[in-house]
């Protein structure tokens, strides 16, 4: 898994020997992970296995005690999250984290800002601002309609349902131009209908937007529907990884994860 995939593509994201402890608790122990472009990679495992800690390290929210993370071959281990975002990796938090006080449209427009827009002087470039604002409005509407939230553009972010907030968070990441999305439990706490919508959306963005996805998921139906490669984490280590059949039909995985001794893991 260190070289290229079967299509000859280099890894998009590479993590090597990642270790992280919180006090005496060893959350991650020498974890190796490779994410290839154009595929959906799932991270599964029991609660406390270290999946979210791993995602926090990959996205720059946590520094590992040991190990390196490379995105497109660049060492991002010590990068701050906003720099990693500019390199094309976006993250959906488990608790979503939208900008509740902003309108749904402004939530997406914030993702469309360029570094020059952050400057104080941007406030005084009136003509340029007006033109850029029109473009941003159009682009933001495009992304909202893409995820099915076009009609909610003027609502405040905090007025959306939890499921809609997840869609909004994904729209923001797409608008920012993320090439790799880390989705931490994208279907957790969603209704069955919204779960189906989310599955469709994740599949659609990988096919149409040329976006790769790494996701943490407990819902095995979602994993079976989406993932082409799976990492099974257990007690801070990668217990096994491979294709769906390789991992999900592994008797030891079934025993560890579901307490199953036979049958199919659903």
């Amino acid at each position: 898994m260190n070289g290229t995939d079967r299509n000859g593509r280099a890894p998009l994201l590479l993590a090597r020997n990642i270790a992280k402890s919180f006090g005496d608790f060893r959350a991650l122990r020498d974890v190796d992970v490779t994410v290839f472009p154009g595929r959906i990679t799932a991270f599964v495992g029991p609660n406390g296995a270290g999946k979210t800690t791993l995602f926090h390290i990959l996205s720059g929210n946590l520094r590992p005690d040991r190990g390196r993370v490379l995105l497109d071959g660049v060492d991002i281990t010590r990068f701050e999250p906003w720099r990693i975002a500019w390199m094309g990796m976006g993250k959906l938090y488990q608790d979503v984290r939208i900008f509740e006080g902003l309108s749904v449209l402004d939530n997406v427009k914030a993702a469309l800002l360029e570094p020059s827009d952050y400057s104080i002087l941007s406030a005084f470039r009136l003509r340029r601002f007006a033109a850029a604002e029109r473009t941003r409005n159009d682009e933001a509407m495009h992304y909202l309609e893409y995820v099915g939230l076009g009609e909610f553009a003027k609502k405040r972010g905090g007025e959306l349902s939890f499921g809609q907030q997840k869609l909004l968070a994904i729209a923001r990441l797409l608008a920012h131009g993320s090439r790799l999305l880390l989705l931490d439990e994208p279907t957790a706490a969603l209704s069955p209908v919204m779960t189906e919508n989310m599955i469709s959306l994740i599949r659609k963005i990988t096919e149409e937007q040329n976006v790769s996805v790494a996701l943490i998921e407990h819902n095995m139906r979602v994993v079976r529907n989406l993932a082409s490669y799976i990492y099974f984490l257990h007690e801070g280590t990668v217990f096994c990884h491979g294709t769906q059949s390789c991992v999900l039909e592994n008797p030891e995985v079934r025993e560890l994860y579901m307490g199953l001794s036979g049958g199919r893991m659903e």
Binding site: F99, E100, G101, N107, Y118, A123
Partner: protein, 289 residues
């Protein structure tokens, strides 16, 4: 008449203070308790340069703004390592340091004796001395600061600040650098706070450290809590409420022996009731946390 104009001048000065603090408290979510320090910095820079070096108003104003921006930047570098409650404590600490420096650096500031005889500002060769003249001057300065605030608050810079205010971690996933943006907000907010300081010093012609205390910073923050923040009209409503209410209560007809204390109690109660029923303030968009 002069009484009413004096109130209008103070409304303009506090309008500028509230608008500049709004950029920090309302747009960035940084509950600063050090705004009076930058207000005082502007006042002292104007007083010292105009008194000791005979610098004209048009030269002292940019110096005061630059001093506000510079100190705001230095303070931001240190204080913006902290967030939430610890940031508030850092700003209180900074405010207290500035007060102690103003109070004890007697060679420069004359300490508790204050600086008197500060020249009135002169604009286009016309010295602004009477209250009506100063009313016009303060109104123009207020409109300039308000205009700058409107431009800033409608800008993409403000959108990045509001994103950070609502959720810093999520804003980072969209590439917004928190520390850099917060420091920029601190620079602009502090620079703008120096302008009302210049106006105040030029108006009253005497300043001492007691005008720029922690209590004054809390008062400025209260204006935003009451009026609301995160938009343009909230701070202005707050200024009207907080400055006019005490004046109105002078005419309530309370017995002289208890009037002052009763006014404070009623004033305090009104604030509590307002916060209970309107956490976003009278006209704000953001509920300060």
């Amino acid at each position: 008449m002069n009484y009413l104009l004096h109130i209008c001048i103070m409304l303009a000065i506090y309008g500028m203070l509230a608008s500049s603090a709004n950029l920090l408290i309302g747009y960035s979510g940084l509950l600063t308790m050090a705004h009076a320090a930058f207000y005082g910095l502007g006042a002292y820079v104007y007083a010292l340069l105009s008194l000791h070096f005979n610098w004209p108003f048009w030269a002292t104003l940019p110096c005061a703004v630059a001093a506000g921006a510079l100190v705001g930047w230095l303070f931001g570098l240190a204080a913006l390592r902290f967030r939430n409650e610890t940031f508030v404590l850092a700003t209180i600490g900074f405010q207290m340091i500035v007060y102690v420096v103003l109070y004890n650096w007697t060679g420069l500031t004359r300490g508790p004796y204050g600086i008197s005889g500060i020249p009135h500002p002169a604009v286009f060769g016309c010295r602004i001395e009477t209250v009506p003249q100063f009313f016009l001057f303060a109104a123009v300065m207020f409109l300039i600061v308000l205009g700058i605030s409107v431009l800033l608050c409608r800008s993409s810079f403000a959108l990045s600040l509001k994103a950070l205010r609502d959720n810093e971690a999520a804003a980072q996933t969209l590439g917004i650098p928190p520390r850099r943006q917060y420091i920029r907000a601190m620079i602009v907010g502090s620079a703008l706070a120096a302008i009302p300081g210049v106006c105040f010093a030029g108006y009253v012609t005497y300043i001492d450290p007691t005008s720029f205390t922690l209590q004054e910073s809390i008062f400025i923050a209260s204006i935003l809590l009451v009026g609301g923040s995160g938009n343009i009209k909230g701070p202005l409503c707050g200024v009207l409420f907080m400055l006019i209410l005490p004046e109105v209560m002078r005419f309530v007809g309370l017995p002289d022996a208890i009037a002052a204390n009763m006014r404070e109690i009623i004033y305090g109660l009104l604030l509590i009731v307002l916060m209970y029923f309107r956490p976003r303030g009278l006209a704000g968009e953001y509920a300060v946390k």
